[in-house]
Assembly symmetry: C2
Homo-oligomer: 112 residues x 2
Amino acid sequence: MRPLFHPAIEDVRPEAILHALADPARAAIFARIATAGCVEACTVLSTVGDRVIPKSSLSSHFKVLREAGLIRSERRGVEMRNESRCAEVDARFPGLLAAIMSAYAVRSDPAA
Amino acid sequence: MRPLFHPAIEDVRPEAILHALADPARAAIFARIATAGCVEACTVLSTVGDRVIPKSSLSSHFKVLREAGLIRSERRGVEMRNESRCAEVDARFPGLLAAIMSAYAVRSDPAA
DNA sequence: ATCGTTAGTTCCGAAGTTCCGAACTATGGG
DNA sequence: CCCATAGTTCGGAACTTCGGAACTAACGAT
């Protein structure tokens, strides 16, 4: 298993963030990591909404989020700890994550 | 030639906007339409940075922006007028476009 | 009217990306 | 040591993107 790659915050590119969050499943995973105490293992969230996501797909979603600079992942024994890099990303691209997350919230809002 | 499709603002989905703007070339085209008096024809901007974009690719970039709800295009004789739908999009997803555009500006900022 | 020019679209093949099941690797417990 | 669990990698099918060539549509000049 190759080591986990995390870009330095100054190497994080906006197109990678937009690409990562342009997938609603990935955006939902990220939202859960960002809100749920900033730590969540992989198979804890093997469903998004009512949709089951296969392990291999989940693994690559995490990889995309990690390589976009949105989360930091660490192997802890047999499982993985993921925490969001919201604070760092927000310092570099102020307001970006908040605006994206609230855009998704608008869409799922029945009043919208 | 089939007619140009524009989604109603309430049908605009955040993932479509993120996907459209996740491509730096498309984001640059959109930025030019949004800032340059909100009207710009296609071949006026056949280059992005120092990169030449073929007509067929340009045409599909415009289509992606249009169908994401970011621009409104109208055939005016032999050419096309494009105007941004910033105001509508901003009313639905407040701050989203501004945050994305300033994220790209950070990236191209030599001090970043 | 018809020709030429300019603006943009469509078609289609090549190249690249995404999805997901199956096989694999790594860690920890009994 | 063997098993179970957590996650990764592989590989093929389905989908997307890119760009050149052929096409269409509008306008002006003759």
